[in-house]
Subunit: 211 residues, 2 copies
Amino acid sequence: MTSSNKPALPVIRRLPKYYRYLINMQQAGKKNVSSSELSRIMGTTASQVRQDFNSFGGFGQQGIGYKVDTLVTEIRHLLFGDGQPLPTILIGAGRLGTAVSQFLVRDANGYSLLAAFDNNPELVGKTLGGIPIRHVDELRSFCSQYHPQVAVLCLPREGATQLSSTLVEMGVKGFWNFSHYDLSVDYPQVMVENVHLGDSLMSLGYHMRNL
Amino acid sequence: MTSSNKPALPVIRRLPKYYRYLINMQQAGKKNVSSSELSRIMGTTASQVRQDFNSFGGFGQQGIGYKVDTLVTEIRHLLFGDGQPLPTILIGAGRLGTAVSQFLVRDANGYSLLAAFDNNPELVGKTLGGIPIRHVDELRSFCSQYHPQVAVLCLPREGATQLSSTLVEMGVKGFWNFSHYDLSVDYPQVMVENVHLGDSLMSLGYHMRNL
DNA sequence: ACATCTTTGACAAACATTTGACAAATATGG
DNA sequence: CCATATTTGTCAAATGTTTGTCAAAGATGT
């Protein structure tokens, strides 16, 4: 019997990794994969793989394993919903913003980058890999017209708080925050993903010195 | 009695966040902080804060709370050891590499960036915020002379695997890997921190569509 | 058709983490 | 000096996650 509860948080955090490996397999023409094979690649146990997949619906055939295509489709659906990309804007077109926008356009699924904003007049009017850079003053009018749902924040700490309130007010539902500070908004309907490069670096340092 | 076991992994993952907030407090001149106050800021429970701090030594005074300075010192020691920065090199001086190097030099503690490498002759000879860009051909000779311990990989997938073997051979003990693929080395003494921007983005998307 | 091998799905046991509760220590105000 | 507030450290209970086990289903080779 297939469980129909929502997958637990640890499972969700593993989904992107499954997805990456499964896409690789799909591209390599692999049709089926067993939990034990996946577990070896993922560095976990076969038991966990099976339990993970069962938490969002039991496909997989005894004696054969799981169909790569089915898994890809299912996980893609979980991660990206109906496939409608989320309209996204980027704020802060400095070095980090440039790198992030490139990533968004070239390597990320499920998001469509509509525009970038900066308050530096020298940048305004240029493009970021095809995306026009506008002045932040145009933010409100842009939002009322195009209703972006996701905002990527690549600006210094100072600007971020104030700007995020404005954006929430304008209907933004998700933040991907690269500012060096923890953005937290009080509206329960708004999701924030704080990216702290420093955290993973500190983690690396800790493990290097203690393992 | 102060426990002297190593802190559990979840605790370690929280340390950078504690550290950030505590540094803020220190700069604001705050002397003491209670577990409940910290828990409110961190979004957890006071109980967890106390248990976390106890896992790496019980300081903190009943009736008062914890001394901010002591906490900062202790956590810094855990994260950065004796304060000796880890000699670091960066490979791949493209957009991402540029942004990451900037971050490393300006915003990260505990690492000193010695050099950057790229295979694009147009970049070689230029600098990355004061750090010279060299050709990857010089990598081996550079390593034998300067013995970097950490390598930051900002290059496309293809190059990464082969390069990492060379680097391990040359004595690199830690990788901060931004390639879009999971680097895994077989030497137990070598730490790898894979940074997948895409994962946090997929996570955001999932939560936006399912919450 | 049969025996054997592979593999899933389910469940329970083992393990890990978080939370709640409370005694003991310190501070504060009268 | 005493009563009351705060706050830690610790322990046990509650909760959450991972792992091991095994019957049943399907595949494979003879």
